[in-house]
Subunit: 236 residues, 2 copies
């Protein structure tokens, strides 16, 4: 068995709590600006637009790769209008879009990553673009060794180019790399590419709307309770 060298982490939901972070951020911002709106509804609808917007990129390679910041910026304006949130300027929509750069980690994320970094290369492997992931790391104190993003591979997960591209750019064989994620479908795609897999449940990620990923649903190499548990299991 090849020695494990690098851990790649799904980010939205696995490392950071995007839903609570965005709702709290937008609520405080709206209160300060005097803008009223159902921010939870906006955040949930926005997240709902995420997969279809990436599918659109996948279906139209001739248009070139579009980074997540741009997809999110395109999605939010019609969603706000539909939810009756009015009077927002272009700068306001930019602020909301940059909210995805200001997400808070789950309680165990920073401590667990710091332990894991002592023995392994740790990197995000996220559909977030490089600037988003870099700014988020500064904001949240995520101690990445390197930042790997769909933007670098010009493909969104779960396209195999992302998992295989990550291993290749690190100079490693797929089996020397493990994906850590709270999403069974992400792990299934990584496993098909030959990567090792670790599942960590984040059962409040979608709040009351959570319908899946309450538990491991594949033959993953590790099933852990949180990043500290993973660090312990890997001898860190």
């Amino acid at each position: 068995m090849a020695e494990l060298k690098a851990l790649l982490f799904d980010v939205f939901g696995t490392v950071v709590d995007w839903r609570s972070s965005l709702i709290d951020d937008f609520t405080a911002w709206g209160d300060a600006k005097g803008v009223r709106g159902d921010w939870a509804a906006l955040v949930d609808a926005w997240r709902g637009a995420y997969m279809p917007s990436m599918d659109e990129v996948r279906r139209h390679p001739e248009r070139g790769f579009v980074i997540l910041d741009d997809l999110q910026r395109q999605s939010v304006e019609p969603l706000a209008a539909r939810l009756g949130i009015t009077g927002l300027t272009a700068a306001d929509f930019d602020y909301l879009t940059r909210g995805w750069h200001r997400l808070h980690p789950w309680p165990d994320s920073v401590g667990g990553l710091t332990r894991l970094k002592s023995r392994f290369i740790i990197s995000p492997l996220s559909n977030g673009n490089v600037a988003l992931l870099t700014n988020m790391a500064k904001f949240a104190g995520l101690p990445w060794d390197v930042i790997l993003s769909a933007e670098i591979f010009r493909h969104y997960k779960p396209d195999p180019e992302t998992y295989l591209g990550a291993a290749k750019i690190l100079g490693l064989a797929p089996e020397q790399v493990m994906l850590v994620a709270a999403h069974n479908n992400d792990l299934a795609a990584a496993q098909t590419c030959g990567l090792k897999t670790a599942f960590v449940p984040r059962v409040t990620e979608y709040g009351p709307l959570q319908t899946r990923d309450f538990k491991a649903e594949g033959n993953w190499d590790y099933v852990v309770s949180d990043f500290d548990d993973l660090a312990g299991r890997l001898g860190c």
Copy 2:
């Protein structure tokens, strides 16, 4: 004047002392293996092959981008033969090539970078490939926020695609980004692209073979004595 947000660092010579590191590493390794050779001559000749090997990539875009590890691996074998270093296996040449991942920082590098990281995004912008820079950061304790490499932009410095690509992938305008380098030609190329520039002299980089870059030779935004001086000048 746009606010400075990110500092990009040339790496070989600016952040790490490649010449002394490689000579010391290979001398100790050769002694342990019983392989005799003029390691200083090999290192100097190898560095001499660096620019021509990148020029070859630049002249033949139809062959695709070739990462620095592969260029270095191709260069070293004939150079060793020419210098009468014989009996090396493929694994030995791989070891020597990976020597570029095991370079030691200058005395001020880690402390200065750590101070600069408190206010700015800090990243390499190097012709070294991503794996090389990632492994070097782990080895030398370089606290990068993100790792930007010629490999990501499929162009070697001083091609403008590297400097402009780095600003773009960070979501910044060129004038919000500063290149820090010990090489006047690197700074000149960055300045042409609209980046800010900082010169730090590393007058022992080439040992007795140093012929240039003893001092600033352009109208750079900052001329500093070392990374600590730069941190002080930038209010870190």
